[in-house]
Assembly symmetry: C2
Homo-oligomer: 379 residues x 2
């Protein structure tokens, strides 16, 4: 268990107290021709960039994540989302690697997005923020990486939406990364994945406070966003895990509007999400997910014909939102192109969220893949 | 394909034009002690009850179904929900059997439910209607069956919630049915099944027109109910079927708020549902589903130790909402009790809705099970 965040009690395998920083670039031209003026990126780094600048790993977060991947923010007890895997002696070993973690553009955790103030109006962009794609998120990350003077990343790694960004790196900047780690992800959303996101978006649009995306913090579409999160949350867990965790038990706490523990859990998850996420961002980021498409089959094989890095693809048997067959599609297309790829399907019962959770098996798979890089081996 | 509903053109395998009838009983005492005064049941019948009154089959509908299981309502082009299986020469052969189909209580299609006028107030009960269980739905059906003078039903059959009613018949009235057909169903909802229903209910509760269940037809929680239906609809289809039907295609029609065909389809499904279903009923009926529990394992085996009929249990590989393992639980418990049971898992790719769809394989399974009844054989 992580220790609480006071400078004295930080354990030796933690990166300790960390701060999110904001860097500003003049502009970013998006795929659709629109221009972000300026481009701001919120990021954290852990470990030290070596002299040759060849030890950097970029980690990419999922839908509701942010730049805070490891260590503790001052006064907070909960570490970054991938703290189990990032730190001294951990799989992403900060004694060895320089880890960069940035918030995606279109998000709401410090990088340019709907909450950014529009210089022309003095008001947040909200729904007037331009559409951003996964490719745009990656273009922004490339600026950050170049800012550090890094010509080639040792690796790009991520799960779910983070995996899509990693995959996009491999095709957008083939020579700029040596290793690519894609977990619980896909080369494009299926109709079912789009459908879940679509219902989430419709829940936000149905909220009377939505007002076409122009709302105040006091009068925002909280109920719609909470519903989107509740539904999303079901898809992140497995049937088996929900049974073990909740079964048919009665509700916890004083939530009156449900008869079941799984209900009070979801309601709590929905309500707490609206305090830390923005409804416009939810729409922008889920649209970026749904529109990302490198294809499948021959189309994907063609898209991946230009990649130059080694790949690790990890899928989870219990992940029904991003089922293993989607990972296998990526693996197949890489194999057709004779690209070195290791594929692992893990039996972790936790569903889609597995990639975020502590697992010794996952830990050693990541370690082995990274450490075998210099020998140019696959697992 | 079914022919349009004009008396001349009805095909010889259709039961033709049918009418929903309403029967009124003095009262029904519910499981929780509350009393429905009176009890009204909407029902249809197809075929003729024989003199011995031993050829009756009760078919039980699913969540959003109603008493209209076969044939055509005057002027309508769409037949009842199980028309492919009910009619002259069909699996539920109306030349041989007398089919009874009734709307569940708590529903909104003619049987006592939230839309029923409360005699004391002159207003619809709405959310003051008492909680009804699957057992209560079955108690009401028993009154209807007894009204026909039927001592023993030849069979009770249903899919999804209809399957739960069939299973409940076997334990509530063990001597009153000879055969029990349970399709795509379960002995109790899992946490995941409850979770999907819960988010649907929360979507209704979040609608500003919900008003604790007191609303007018002009000012009803349509957006909440539409969202519940949209989400439900995803769970009724399989990943594979959604891919084939929609893939990543752009939206159809003039629905502006989505970029994908699967989105416009779901929005349409949600919007059309609110014209034919009541939000209070959605809450009552999904609660009945979630609270139904004959247990699993030893608890279920004990519950089923008193049954006397033969069973046919049908599951669908692609049904991830009511996965085959839930059907297998029922089968296992019946087998431990040495109750005759046939179990079939069908490979139909359509997901949970498979039981509603035309399938020659399903047709012959139903025929064979029913025709082997008199020999006391299992399949």
């Amino acid at each position: 268990m992580p220790t609480p965040a006071s400078s004295e009690s930080i354990d030796p395998h933690s990166v300790g107290i960390v701060h999110t920083q904001i860097i500003r670039f003049e502009s970013l031209t998006l795929d659709n021709g629109e221009v972000l003026l300026p481009l701001e990126i919120a990021y954290e780094t852990y470990g030290t960039l070596n002299e040759k600048k060849d030890n950097a790993i970029l980690v990419c977060h999922a839908l509701s994540g942010d730049a805070h991947a490891a260590g503790y923010h001052e006064g907070e007890k909960r570490p970054g989302y991938w703290d189990y895997y990032i730190g001294p002696g951990k799989a992403f070993d900060t004694n060895q690697y320089f880890i960069i973690s940035s918030n995606v553009i279109g998000g709401c955790k410090g990088s340019s997005g709907p909450l950014t103030i529009n210089g022309k109006t003095g008001q947040p962009f909200q729904s007037s923020f331009p559409f951003v794609s996964i490719a745009d998120m990656v273009s922004a990350q490339e600026k950050l990486v170049s800012h550090f003077g890094i010509e080639q990343l040792f690796a790009v790694a991520g799960g779910s939406m983070g995996g899509m960004q990693a995959l996009q790196w491999s095709v957008a900047y083939p020579t700029r990364l040596k290793n690519c780690i894609i977990m619980a992800s896909t080369s494009e959303h299926s109709a079912q994945q789009i459908a879940f996101n679509e219902v989430g978006r419709q829940a936000i649009l149905a909220d009377p406070h939505w007002n076409n995306g122009i709302y105040t913090n006091e009068n925002k579409p909280s109920k719609g966003l909470a519903l989107a999160r509740m539904m999303g949350h079901i898809t992140y867990l497995s049937d088996e895990m929900m049974r073990e965790k909740f079964g048919r038990k009665p509700p916890k706490g004083n939530i009156q509007s449900t008869d079941f523990a799984v209900g009070s859990y979801l309601i709590y998850q929905g309500e707490s999400f609206v305090d830390r996420f923005d409804a416009n961002s939810y729409i922008y980021v889920t649209k970026a997910l749904d529109h990302f498409s490198l294809g499948t089959g021959k189309e994907l094989t063609k898209a991946l014909s230009i990649v130059k890095c080694r790949f690790l693809v990890v899928a989870y048997t219990s992940d029904w939102l991003y089922p293993p067959y989607q990972s296998e599609e990526i693996v197949k297309s890489l194999e057709v192109n004779a690209i070195p790829v290791s594929f692992v399907e893990l039996n972790n019962p936790a569903g889609h969220d597995s990639f975020l959770l502590q697992s010794e098996e996952q830990d050693s798979i990541l370690r082995d893949f990274l450490s075998s890089s210099d020998e140019g081996e696959t697992l």
